[in-house]
């Protein structure tokens, strides 16, 4: 039996100053080794949930365990176990990819030699070796996405959180990123927890999905099982079936 990578029990979270809660009594488990997709309309709470799991937000009720560690009690000590690839470009545009990796690698607890080796490997795999010393601010959106991803996986995390890692990139970059993530999961055993609005891409990547709407998990299973249960042809049909067709901009 596999262990839980993330175990959320009865989570309650309200943003400071707001009256309505974002989550109340939310429970969810992601097993180690899964490629887990979390989907939902805009404002459903995907990013907020990711921020709660990664300790970026402090939740008020319930518990979140990451690889058995209670997040609220062991924030910094468990941080080396996971990697986070935020939706925004979270690095220093004034630095080169190599300089960014050197800095974030040190912060992730890697030693000088490990940083050197991992930087060479990642820049090669992600097609950035030729521009390793160029400033990132001169890069295209796709190249920046790859830098963003490289920093997140620099320290070989056991769990990798990816918040829309392919938004705004071309087909080639998307394929490169998705293929790299699958390789990371299959060869390294890294658990992937992924959100995106690219449902076709999600079908290619994820072996387990959950749909979240209005702060609640409304479906959670393998994609094949959910499609069969709801008699839909794919994730997009399932998504519309469960969340409706109206705009969710608020």
């Amino acid at each position: 039996m596999s262990n839980a990578a993330v175990s959320i029990n009865h989570l309650g979270f309200t943003y400071p100053g707001q009256s309505s809660s974002c989550f109340s009594n939310l429970s969810l488990t992601v097993q180690e080794g899964e490629r887990f997709g979390l989907f939902g309309p805009n404002g459903a709470g995907k990013t907020t949930l990711m921020h709660c799991i990664t300790g970026l937000l402090s939740y008020q009720q319930g518990s979140i365990k990451l690889l058995g560690y209670e997040i609220a009690q062991h924030k910094k000590s468990v941080n080396k176990l996971f990697g986070y690839v935020p939706q925004d470009f979270s690095f220093y545009q004034e630095l080169s990819p190599a300089e960014n990796l050197a800095f974030f690698g040190a912060w992730a607890g890697l030693q000088k030699n490990e940083i050197k080796n991992k930087t060479t490997e990642l820049l090669e795999v992600l097609g950035l070796a030729d521009v390793r010393n160029k400033r990132v601010e001169q890069f295209s959106g796709g190249m920046k996405r790859r830098v963003n991803l490289a920093i997140g996986v620099m320290h070989n995390p056991r769990v990798l959180f990816l918040d829309e890692p392919t938004v705004g990139v071309d087909v080639h970059t998307r394929h490169a990123i998705i293929n790299y993530l699958i390789k990371l999961n299959e060869e390294g055993g890294t658990t992937l927890i992924y959100t995106s609005h690219q449902l076709a891409e999600a079908e290619e990547l994820c072996n387990k999905v959950a749909l979240i709407d209005d702060g609640k998990i409304i479906a959670h299973d393998t994609l094949q099982q959910l499609v069969a249960d709801y008699k839909e042809e794919g994730l997009e049909g399932l998504f519309i079936n469960l969340t409706g067709k109206s705009f969710r901009d608020s």
């Binding site: 080396k80 935020p86 979270s90 974030f104 040190a106 912060w107 920093i151």
Partner: protein
């Protein structure tokens, strides 16, 4: 831990040296400010001390006292006198002054000698009466008072400058008046005119004024515009790192780097320590550059040279403490500001305000009494007092310790506020 700190310092230095605008704000702008303001103040200083003020002199008096008044004004040495005809009208004088022919015009009235003589005789008689010596005088008492010497000023002249001119003229007038009183007294007692030799001995034998700037080290260096301005603008430059550092902290928060750093197993305090060390080095380099300009470039530009205090260790320590305070303030602004524009705006305006309140723009002793308490809240005031203790008073570190203690207190308070801000924003 040391490897993380070293990597963070390296990252901060790289970012700093790639921020050209920030570098301009931190180095070029204060250098220009120091040069321009020292040059301007030095020029004013020289006008008062070495240069002469273009002045129109209209002597409408034909007597001896008018001539004596002219000589006395000349002797002051601060006027470049241009004689104008006695019958020139006030309107013509005003026109010549508008045409920048002169910035001051002095008019000696037509019956100046006659009226001054009568007044002096009256004064002499009163004096003799007081001594119990009644002397018959055939002079008719003239009740008319002496018409004043009139001075026209160009409106560009500042109040302090006008006061200097007024003081010089009063001194000249006093000398002429004294001479006349003395002559009258002598004549009343001896019925002969005061001999020239005695007149010169009595009138021109003024005691000299010995001006000595106080100093702790016994040096007699006369403070000049450089000695005042270089420390002041060095402090200003140090605090202006807020433009680069405050923005850098905000940029880090906005571009998501903060989010990433928070998810890594390193405390954000490492980033704060790194920023403090990196920018402390920057402020130290700023001071070195500006002091070097004062020592080597200013004399080449015809400006007074900066004299470095004998207590070099004291200067270094004061510079480091001032720099630490400036860096702490910049980080605090960055932590609380929500946008780069906010950080730049609030940072720049607050530094100018603190500089004004702290005595960098106007001497603190010249401020209203209500400001005497407010200025103590400005860290720039304590920085300036510490530097002045070393640069102007020739003191040592122990002599400025009472200025350093409040400065350290303010710095620690700023650090605490910053930590509170980081904690409140869930950043540490």
């Amino acid at each position: 831990m040391m490897f993380k700190l070293r990597s963070t310092i390296l990252k901060d230095i790289r970012i700093l040296f790639r921020d050209r605008l920030g570098l301009i704000f931190m180095f070029i702008m204060p250098i220009i400010l120091a040069i321009v303001i020292t040059a301007v103040q030095n020029s004013t200083f020289e006008i008062l001390n070495t240069n002469t003020v273009p002045t129109l002199l209209c002597n409408r008096d034909t007597g001896e006292a008018g001539k004596q008044m002219e000589i006395a004004i000349n002797k002051v040495g601060m006027f470049n006198l241009k004689q104008v005809t006695p019958n020139i009208s006030e309107k013509e004088i005003a026109n010549r002054m508008h045409a920048k022919d002169a910035v001051v015009a002095i008019i000696i009235p037509s019956n100046f000698t006659q009226k001054l003589k009568h007044k002096s005789e009256e004064t002499a008689k009163k004096a003799l009466k007081n001594f119990g010596m009644s002397i018959d005088s055939q002079h008719v008492t003239d009740n008319d008072s002496v018409q004043p010497v009139t001075v026209f000023y160009h409106p560009v002249l500042q109040e302090s400058f006008r006061r200097s001119i007024q003081g010089a003229l009063k001194s000249s007038l006093q000398m002429v008046q004294n001479r006349e009183v003395l002559k009258s007294l002598y004549f009343s007692l001896n019925e002969t005119a005061l001999p020239d030799s005695l007149e010169n001995e009595l009138i021109n034998n003024q005691l000299a004024i010995n001006e000595i700037p106080i100093s702790r080290d016994g040096s007699r260096n006369i403070p000049n515009a450089t000695q005042h301005n270089i420390p002041a603008w060095t402090i200003f430059a140090m605090f202006f790192v807020v433009i680069s550092l405050g923005s850098s902290v905000v940029r880090e928060k906005l571009n998501g780097s903060f989010v990433r750093l928070k998810t890594l197993p390193t405390n954000y305090l490492v980033a704060l320590i790194s920023k403090q060390l990196t920018y402390l080095l920057v402020t130290f380099i700023q001071a070195l550059v500006i002091f070097s300009i004062g020592i080597w470039l200013f004399p080449l530009m015809g400006l007074p040279r900066l004299n470095i205090p004998t207590d070099i260790a004291g200067v270094i320590i004061v510079t480091l403490i001032c720099g630490w305070c400036a860096v702490s303030y910049a980080i605090m602004i960055g932590v609380f500001a929500k946008t780069q524009e906010q950080a730049n705006g609030i940072g720049a305006v607050s530094i100018v305000l603190m500089a004004a309140v702290g005595g960098l723009l106007v001497p603190s002793f010249a401020m209203p009494s209500s400001f005497q308490y407010i200025l103590k809240a400005s860290p720039l005031h304590w920085c300036l007092q510490s530097y002045y203790g070393l640069f102007l008073e020739g003191g040592k570190l122990r002599d400025v310790i009472l200025n350093i203690i409040p400065l350290l207190g303010i710095t620690l308070l700023i650090q605490l506020i910053t930590l509170y801000g980081l904690k409140r924003k869930n950043l540490i």
